[in-house]
């Protein structure tokens, strides 16, 4: 039974790797391998590369100072934070909100088996995020430090223990969210606010950690002794990676016990939470005359409702809206200090600060990609818009408007704040506004194009289209890559052209790309949507 459920869960998680939705058939072996290699390259290349670099810079001095355990403690802590951060948002919906809960509960399937199969999905996500930190850390230690049998066993065990600990933390937080959410009315907003507070805390500690880390490396012997003396458990944790058998035994027992306790609590409370309809007060209907809207406005409102109804959707695809506003406010607050610093760094190159600040605003705006999963999120309800007297283009346009509205307005606010502090000449000012506007428009149409290329209407959990689809990954990485190219190209060749000319040329290019994709969306894209 469990094997069957695990197989189903795996098929669901890796559906996009095994099945080509566009062609409505299974991928060839080559195609599957290609998809897996692409994903591995992206994960290992982008995130893994970053943490390999961090490991390389820390491992040698700490190992040579006899503080290998401190190295594993630091890298292990980062892995736990990143792993929990990466999987916690999906734990609640992954465990309790799956659309096949009713079906599975109605069958003679033990709840334990359902929980175990669901946990596998959460575990894999946590393993993936924690693995990109701790796996390079362990390998770097084997190369730069020691690589005897105890270190190899310890390193492997550390990876396993961290991934299980991440699962325990994610489940504990997911359980709390589940208990609270049964009672809440405006779940999506409250969950979003709580999650944002969590993200804020994460970044607060992340930035503090940079300073702490440097401080730690400068005074490693002093801190090492302090931690060793006063926090024995942390010391033991780091010792696992160094191949300390006692530490391995203690932590295996503790995490094993915690894991078992989590599993028992979840098994016992699963049915109650998964089938809870909530005991919140019924919304009383008051008859009133509705404010009339045009078909386009109604479609836009529908898309906006879809977006704000899901905390997962808002958190994963709409973070830029908040970040751009905060960024703008930060520029107003600290911009007076930032601009002269940038001018000093960039020297005489005229307009460089303007270009790079524009690129920075675009970078923040890139995190908004709500239009990518919006096609897949139509799901089984797609018949509604397809049967109504609206064209495919009208529906697509409404999806585009949501991304544009939620990105362009805060992006313009952000760039306005930059302009206030930078006080550029009129032409530069116009070009800065145009640059940011055209980037946001281009990314919106590119994102919609990506979303239309391989939609998946048969998901059982909204997290798959929102977070785990190849389209979303492509859109996110693509937009980051584009911003890096825009900034890099300026530093390589644009400096010689001057800021204004570079921005002007970039604007023309972005406008041309946007128009071409828009034409495709209006024609073939709209037809493709109508025939989904």
């Amino acid at each position: 039974m469990l094997k069957l459920l695990l197989k189903k869960q795996m098929a669901e998680i890796f559906r996009s790797y095994l099945y080509n939705v566009k062609k409505n058939k299974a991928r060839s072996k080559g195609g599957v391998i290609g998809m897996i290699v692409l994903f591995a390259v992206l994960m290992i290349g982008v995130l893994g590369g970053m943490f390999t670099f961090l490991s390389l810079s820390m491992c040698e001095p700490l190992y040579e100072g006899g503080l290998g355990w401190l190295y594993f403690l630091i890298m292990g802590s980062i892995a736990i934070i990143l792993g929990t951060f990466g999987s916690v948002f999906s734990t609640f919906s992954g465990l309790y909100l799956a659309k096949d809960n009713d079906l599975l509960l109605s069958m003679p399937v033990p709840v334990r088996a359902i929980i175990t199969s669901r946990l596998l999905g959460v575990y894999l996500l946590g393993l993936m995020y924690s693995g990109v930190v701790i796996l390079p850390a362990v390998i770097v230690y084997w190369i730069k430090g020691a690589h005897g049998v105890p270190q190899i066993v310890g390193g492997l065990l550390l990876i396993l223990l961290i991934s299980v600990f991440v699962l325990i933390l994610s489940c504990a937080l997911g359980y709390v969210v589940a208990r609270i959410s049964v009672k809440l009315k405006n779940k999506s907003y409250i969950t979003t606010i709580l999650a944002l507070a969590f993200i804020g805390l994460y970044y607060f500690f992340y930035f503090k950690a940079q300073v702490l880390l440097q401080n730690l490396l400068n005074n490693m012997a002093v801190y090492g002794e302090k931690i060793k003396g006063s926090a024995g458990l942390l010391y033991r944790f780091g010792r696992i990676g160094e191949g300390d058998w006692t530490a391995m035994l203690i932590y295996t027992a503790v995490i094993g016990a915690l894991g078992a306790a989590t599993w028992i609590v979840l098994s016992r409370s699963f049915i109650k939470i998964a089938t809870a309809t909530g005991d919140t007060a019924k919304v009383k209907y008051r008859e009133k005359t509705a404010r009339l809207q045009s078909a386009d406005q109604a479609l836009f409102r529908k898309e906006l409702n879809r977006f704000t109804a899901s905390a997962n959707y808002m958190l994963n695809c709409g973070l830029s809206t908040l970040m751009l506003i905060l960024g703008g406010a930060a520029v107003l607050w600290k911009g007076g200090e930032l601009v002269p610093v940038l001018e000093n760094i960039l020297g005489d190159a005229e307009g460089s600060v303007a270009v790079l600040l524009c690129v920075g605003v675009c970078m923040i705006a890139s995190m908004n990609d709500m239009v990518v999963p919006s096609i897949s999120l139509e799901g089984k309800q797609i018949w509604v818009v397809q049967s109504l007297p609206v064209s495919g283009w009208q529906v697509l346009k409404a999806k585009l408007k949501v991304q544009l509205g939620l990105t362009l307005i805060p992006a313009l606010f952000c760039i306005a704040c930059v302009i206030i502090k930078l006080k550029p000449p009129v032409l530069t000012l116009i070009l800065m506004v145009l640059f940011v506007t055209l980037y946001v428009i281009m990314m919106a149409v590119v994102d919609l194009w990506i979303g239309l290329l391989s939609p998946n209407l048969n998901w059982t959990n909204e997290l798959y289209p929102i977070k785990q689809s190849m389209s979303v990954l492509l859109a996110l990485l693509g937009s980051f890559a584009l911003v890096i190219i825009l900034g890099g190209l300026y530093l390589l060749v644009g400096v010689r052209l001057g800021g204004d000319l570079y921005m002007g040329l970039a604007c023309v290019l972005m406008a041309v790309i946007s128009v071409l994709i828009l034409l495709w969306l209006r024609g073939r894209g709209a037809k493709r949507f109508a025939n989904l």
Partner: protein, 235 residues
């Protein structure tokens, strides 16, 4: 009101609908029966403009669904076999969304929602999210949304599934009202007793082909519709 001419739709190697022609006149309740997988849903989805078809032509009130889909869709309503509605909206938001798309005026809309929701005893639940609705409540909401813009043609796939007896009776009365007002109803059903009592005309589809159609008397003669259907299926 609905003219289907030589409709053919293929999925892979399988012909789901094969050269099917039907004509539904104003004032008619037209039943569409056939076993599972016979091609009923494919025909209805094609007529509703949700699904493209390989050959043939479909006209809604004289307008081609192929060449002028928006005008054609504005004159009809469709209810699928499983009312998957927008879970993230409340009942009233969904009805207002549909009414906005069809451009139903404020007063007209208010009166219709009031009247239909009262008849289906759904008024108290209109403020609730659709996610909290039972299957029957969703079906009632789908019916109200289909009737809200007073379409000339209503197409329904298994409309009685999930409805309580009172709502079923109400739906039958409403179907008759539409036809008495010059509209037409085209619906599929497996409940042959309902089809026999309610329909003016009936069509039987088997393996994508129309095997019999006409007035109820023409199709069933002296036998019951169930007997005729089972005989035709056995052939």
């Amino acid at each position: 009101m609905l003219r289907i001419e030589n409709l053919t739709k293929t999925f892979g190697d399988k012909k789901a609908v094969d050269d099917l022609s039907l004509h539904i006149a104003p004032g008619e309740i037209y039943g569409f029966i056939g076993h599972n997988g016979a091609g009923k849903t494919t025909t209805l989805r094609s007529a509703a403009g949700i699904q493209q078809f390989d050959k043939g032509e479909i006209y809604i009130d004289g307008v081609s669904i192929k060449t002028d889909p928006l005008t054609a869709k504005a004159r009809m309503a469709y209810i699928p076999d499983n009312p998957d509605l927008y879970d993230f909206m409340s009942g009233i938001k969904y009805l207002n969304f549909i009414a906005d798309i069809f451009g139903v005026g404020a007063q007209e809309r208010k009166e219709r929602i009031h009247d239909l929701a009262e008849r289906f005893e759904l008024t108290a639940d209109l403020g609730q999210p659709i996610a909290s609705y039972s299957h029957g409540m969703k079906q009632k909401l789908a019916i109200i949304s289909a009737w809200i813009h007073t379409p000339r043609l209503i197409m329904m796939d298994e409309p009685f599934v999930g409805l309580d007896p009172k709502a079923s009776r109400l739906l039958k009365d409403m179907m008759r009202e539409v036809c008495d007002g010059g509209g037409a109803i085209f619906f599929s059903t497996h409940v042959l007793e309902v089809a026999e009592k309610l329909c003016d005309k009936v069509a039987i589809i088997k393996q994508g082909q129309l095997i019999r159609s006409g007035t109820m008397e023409e199709v069933k003669g002296d036998e019951s519709l169930e007997e005729v259907f089972l005989e035709l299926e056995a052939e």
